[in-house]
Structure formats: structure tokens, C-alpha cells
């Protein structure tokens, strides 16, 4: 059993009060020249195999689109708006090159609107399907959740594409929203995504990223607060197979007092060249007194030849906080756990299955969307069948 604990920390306590910016998350800009083509040596790009982006960063225009199929409960609308309208709605601007390119080339944006006070029992589901990894697709979406509304939004990615998308979620005061993005791509898809969330006064949001498919997936989930009292839970689950690169970058920008963020990402890796990256960044600004934040990443390495990079990061400018913490651990199958289960007669195969399901269980139960939870259990099972359960006799 090998266990490597990475709990690296960089606390930059002496940042200036005004115009503070996180070194990992530069301020947004609609000016493309602010987002030069990366070389791969930049801190924010160094984990990503740029070659496998297959030209996405070149920024070639393209009018191709994913196929959208939607399930919109009554009262919810999906419309097309111009880029200027998107900005006017309060879109959270692009803060890296892929998202800036998506703005530049998407040709307007889609607006998903959940009006104020609407309480939905059924989820809003957006099925986004790509036909081929040869298609270059730019996407731009604004999700607006009105004040005191309650909604669940599922974005389900399937098929294949070279896809870069910028998504903004504006959560009205007192609203409660559950956003889930599922990356169930075919093997050759490339997906760069930036989700940014602005949490209204006393609003609560849960954002879950689930990544199984694709050759390369790199997603940002950023959260900031429009007013005090907001609460954000950022969850993630990923399963990287042979040769897959799955990267999740989190940013909680505590820019208002008495706000909370809680990050939990769990991943499993199996097969030669499976690579996962998790970067968790929290910035606690001077004004953000009385906030609470916790971020955690756990990885389970199921075979040789995998790599899990995990870097939690905390930048604190005020001491007046309720709590801030982080944890990160990457471990192999625990021999003691397997021995314990097997000593009760449970076969090696079944023991491994129990341990992996157990590893993901608490996270899956937090997702809060029953149909998705069931599907995740089945997907974990299917992933296990590929490797962990394959070579072992029952």
C-alpha cells in the first residue's frame, strides 16, 4: 500500500487590499489579447497536454453546434440572445483563452431562464450531443435563476466534439439551485469548459461535475458572491481510464462576508496513462469576514501507470474567518480493507467492488438528483468491469 499525501499550501497573507487577484485565476477580460496562446509552461497550463487539445487554442472560427435536446419544465425558457445582451445580463466574463475564444466565436449566447419564485420539482435537462471529434464547437450559455426560485439543471454531454464552452450561472437572492454537468463523451472528445457562478444574497448553489468520458476534459468551476450569506457546494466525481486526461480546476472567491464554500472532489484512475488533475483554489478577500471554507480531493489509484495530481491552495487576506481548511490524498487500494472483507469470505473481486463503491458513496449521495445517483452507481459498476474486476477470479 502506498499513500501519498499532498497537502501543499501557499498562503499569501500580504496581498494588497484593492485589486487583489488570485495568481491562479486572473480577472476576466473580453479582450482576446489578454489571453495569449499558452506555451504549456504557465502555472495554469502546466498539467495539461496542449497537443491533445487538437488546435482548440488556435481559435479558428466555427459555426458548428452540438445537437441540443431539452427537457424544460413549465415556466422555464431557453432563448438565443446576442453577445451584448449576455454581457448586459451580468455574464461572468472569460478568464482564460478557451473561454475568451468561446465568447468570440459562439455567435451570441443561449439564455436559460428560471423566473423568480418558480419552484421546480422536475429537473431542467439539456442533452448536448456531438457528432464527431472533427467538429470544432464554441458554446456560450447563461443560466439565470430568479430570486427565491428552486431549480435543478442537468447538462449532459455525449458523443464527440472539440468543444469549448463558457457558462455563467447567476443565482438570484434566496434562490436554491443544483447544477450538474455530466461528461459522458466518447473516447476521442476534447472538452474545455468554464462554469462560473455568482451567488446571490442568502442563496445556495450546488455544482457537480461528473467526468467519465473524453480523451481530454478540462473544466473550471468558479464561484463568487454577489452579497453576504451565500453558500456554495462544489462537488465532483471522475473516473479516468487508460490514456484519459481529466482536469478539474476549482476557484472559490470569497468576496463577500459570511459566505460559505465547500468543495469535495473524488476520483478513481485505472489503466496506463490515466491522468487526473485537481486544482482547488480559495481566495478569502479582506472584506470576507466570517466566512467558512473547506476543500477536499481524494483519489483512488486502481492500477499501475496512472497519475493523480492534486493541489489545494488557499490565499487568505483576513484573519476574521470562521474556518478554512483543506485535505488532499491519493491512495491505492488499501490492503487492510481488502483483507478485512476477504477474511469474512467475500471474494477479492467483490471486496474491490465494495471498496470502490464505498469510496464514491458519500459523494454520490450528496448529488441530490435521484435519477443521476442511480446512473452514477451503474457507471461506477461499468468502469469497474473494465479493469478492477476483469483480471480477478470470482
Amino acid at each position: 500500500m502506498t499513500v501519498t499525501d499532498t497537502a501543499r499550501e501557499s498562503v499569501a497573507a500580504s496581498l494588497e487590499q484593492d485589486g487583489v487577484q488570485s495568481h491562479l485565476n486572473p480577472p476576466p477580460s473580453y479582450d482576446l489579447t489578454d489571453h495569449p496562446v499558452p506555451t504549456g509552461r504557465e502555472e495554469v497550463w502546466r498539467f495539461t497536454p496542449l497537443k491533445r487539445l487538437r488546435g482548440l487554442l488556435d481559435g479558428e472560427p466555427s459555426a458548428a453546434s452540438l445537437r441540443w435536446e431539452t427537457e424544460l419544465p413549465g415556466g422555464v425558457t431557453l432563448t438565443e440572445v446576442t453577445g451584448d445582451e449576455a454581457v448586459g445580463l451580468g455574464e461572468l466574463g472569460p478568464n482564460d483563452r478557451p473561454s475568451a475564444l468561446a465568447v468570440a466565436h459562439a455567435g451570441g449566447a443561449r439564455l436559460l431562464d428560471v423566473p423568480a419564485d418558480l419552484e421546480l420539482d422536475e429537473p431542467v435537462v439539456l442533452h448536448l450531443h456531438g457528432e464527431s471529434a472533427d467538429d470544432l464547437v464554441w458554446g456560450r450559455l447563461v443560466v439565470r435563476i430568479g430570486a427565491h426560485a428552486r431549480a435543478t439543471v442537468v447538462i449532459n454531454h455525449t458523443g464527440s466534439a472539440r468543444y469549448s464552452a463558457i457558462t455563467t450561472v447567476l443565482v438570484g437572492d434566496g434562490a436554491s439551485v443544483n447544477v450538474l454537468t455530466l461528461q459522458d463523451w466518447d473516447d476521442d472528445a476534447v472538452h474545455l469548459g468554464r462554469d462560473a457562478i455568482r451567488v446571490g444574497r442568502d442563496a445556495s448553489v450546488r455544482h457537480t461535475a461528473i467526468s467519465f468520458g473524453g480523451d481530454l476534459v478540462r473544466l473550471h468551476a468558479n464561484v463568487e458572491y454577489a452579497a453576504p450569506g451565500g453558500e456554495a457546494e462544489l462537488l465532483g466525481l471522475y473516473f479516468a481510464d487508460e490514456g484519459q486526461h481529466l482536469e478539474h480546476r476549482l476557484f472559490a472567491d470569497h468576496n463577500a462576508p459570511r459566505t460559505r464554500s465547500n468543495v469535495l472532489y473524488k476520483g478513481a484512475l485505472q489503466g496506463e496513462g490515466a491522468h487526473t488533475v485537481w486544482i482547488g483554489n480559495v481566495l478569502i478577500r479582506k472584506v470576507a469576514e466570517g466566512i467558512e471554507t473547506y476543500e477536499e480531493n481524494r483519489n483512488l489509484v486502481l492500477s499501475d501507470g496512472c497519475q493523480a495530481d492534486s493541489v489545494p491552495n488557499l490565499e487568505i487576506e483576513t484573519g476574521e474567518i470562521e474556518g478554512a481548511g483543506h485535505a488532499s490524498a491519493t491512495a491505492r487500494f488499501d490492503d487492510e480493507q481488502l483483507f478485512y472483507l476477504r477474511s469474512r469470505g467475500v471474494s477479492e473481486k467483490e471486496s474491490r467492488r465494495l471498496v470502490v463503491h464505498g469510496f464514491f458513496n458519500d459523494l454520490i449521495r450528496k448529488v441530490g438528483i435521484p435519477s443521476i445517483e442511480e446512473r452514477l452507481l451503474a457507471t461506477v459498476e461499468a468502469e469497474l468491469a473494465k479493469n478492477v474486476l476483469r483480471d480477478v477470479d470470482a
Binding site: D334, F339, Y340, S343, R344, S347, N361
Partner: protein, 255 residues
């Protein structure tokens, strides 16, 4: 027939300085229906004996044999040993996050019996056993050993003993860390198991107090990887009065 026969068992563990011999030839036979107690100083190899019989991968058997009802235990995998009728209540039960006690027990029972237990009677059985061990019914929904108190972990081991119903049970310091009430409750569980026809028990302990509740047929003194002395229940009282000193000195003189 479920006689457990351990013959001249030699076991080593891998250390940074190469293999280290821990068991130096252990011979012990537990016949049907017998209860044997093993007592010995810290580090003498008692847990090593228990783990080696159960098949823990950390230990390498370098000599000797172990058979259960004539079957070669050392040739079996860990789970095969359990299915053959061996059970080890561990000194330090392992946490398995995210796996509920209920799921764990049902999976283990299914594996041991080769078929899933009948749902209706099973739920009753589990609740009955948990109740007897003074474990709350909500206990079944918790993750295996996660956040359990020391005493709860031990009672959970005995719950498994009763539900899985092996032929031979090895109890490694099941009494350690138990208060007097919990000790009684756990002992009653072991005694319910023993009351059945032909069940063997190997009870590893530091204290004679559990032997007042679970009367052994034989007591073995374990020192430096060997059985240094054996006798009846009176040997336990003698150890309590005199300690292991003379056995430790004798072992040191041998070495």
C-alpha cells in the same frame, strides 16, 4: 469434523532489514468443541499467529502446516479460508468507508453460504444479534467500523461471529478496551456461539477476567514466537499471580 491443527508453524515478516522471524515453530491443536486461551507478553507473536492462520498477506509462512478438518488451510486464499469455516475477530478492526454494516453483513453471509440469505429471516436475525450485543438498530446503516468506539468495534466483530457462524473462531484480544458490562455482553455472544455442537475457539487475551466468563479447556503461554507452556484453566491464575517472567527468561536463555 472441524479440528484446527497447527504444526510447527514458522512465520516471518518483511522488514527494511530483510525478513524477520516471528513465529518459531508453533504447534497447537483445537479439537471440535474445545476452547483454548493463549496468553503472552506484548510482541510475542499472538496476533501474528492469528493473522497467519487467516492468511494476511503481510506474513510469510516459511515452514509448518495448518489444517482445518484435514484440509490444507495454507493452500487457500484469504476468503477461501473464511468460507472453509475460519473466523478471525481482529484486535484492530478495519474501517471501510462508505460500506454500510448492513450491506457488509449481507455480502459476507451470501459469500459464506454460497447463496443470499432469505430476506425476511435475515433482517430479523441481524436485528436480533445487534440487539443482543446492545448495538442500536441504526448501527446497521453506519459505515463499517468508521467512527465506532473501541467497544463498538469489538461488539461488531462478535455480531459477525454469530451471524457468519464459522467452525473455528480466533478472537484476538476481543476483551481489550471493554468496560465490565461490554465484556459480559461480548462473552455471552461468544458463549452462544460455543454452545453449539463442535465449535472451536482460540481466545487470545492478556487478562484472566474474560476467562471467568468464557471458561477455557486449555491455556497456552506464548513467548517469543512459541508455546512455552500449556495447562488447564489453573495456569491462567498462576500467570496472573506470577507474570511471564520465568518463561521470558527461559526463552532468553534459549536464544
Amino acid at each position: 469434523m472441524s479440528e484446527l491443527v497447527i504444526q510447527d508453524l514458522q512465520v516471518s515478516v518483511d522488514t527494511e532489514d530483510g525478513p524477520k522471524e516471528i513465529l518459531k515453530g508453533v504447534t497447537l491443536t483445537i479439537k471440535d468443541g474445545e476452547t483454548h486461551a493463549i496468553m503472552g507478553p506484548n510482541g510475542s507473536g499472538k496476533s501474528t499467529l492469528a493473522y497467519s492462520v487467516a492468511g494476511h498477506p503481510k506474513y510469510t509462512v516459511t515452514g509448518g502446516s495448518v489444517t482445518l478438518g484435514g484440509e490444507d488451510v495454507l493452500a487457500m486464499s484469504v476468503d477461501e479460508r473464511a468460507r472453509a469455516g475460519l473466523f478471525l475477530a481482529m484486535q484492530y478492526p478495519v474501517e471501510v468507508p462508505g460500506v454500510s454494516v448492513a450491506n457488509f453483513l449481507r455480502t459476507a453471509k451470501t459469500a459464506i453460504d454460497g447463496e443470499a440469505p432469505k430476506l425476511r429471516t435475515w433482517v430479523k436475525d441481524v436485528n436480533g444479534v445487534l440487539g443482543n450485543l446492545n448495538l442500536d438498530p441504526t448501527f446497521a446503516q453506519r459505515s463499517v467500523n468508521e467512527g465506532f468506539s473501541g467497544g463498538e468495534k469489538k461488539r461488531h466483530e462478535i455480531a459477525q461471529l454469530e451471524l457468519l457462524d464459522p467452525k473455528v473462531a480466533i478472537l484476538d484480544e476481543t476483551d481489550s478496551g471493554l468496560d465490565i458490562d461490554a465484556l459480559k455482553i461480548v462473552s455471552e455472544g461468544v458463549n452462544r456461539f460455543r454452545a453449539q455442537e463442535g465449535k472451536g475457539v482460540l481466545l487470545i487475551t492478556h487478562y484472566t477476567r474474560i476467562l471467568r466468563y468464557i471458561q477455557p479447556d486449555y491455556v497456552h503461554v506464548f513467548v517469543d514466537g512459541r508455546v512455552a507452556e500449556q495447562g488447564g484453566p489453573e495456569l491462567a491464575d498462576q500467570l496472573e499471580a506470577e507474570g511471564y517472567d520465568k518463561y521470558v527468561k527461559a526463552a532468553a536463555a534459549r536464544a
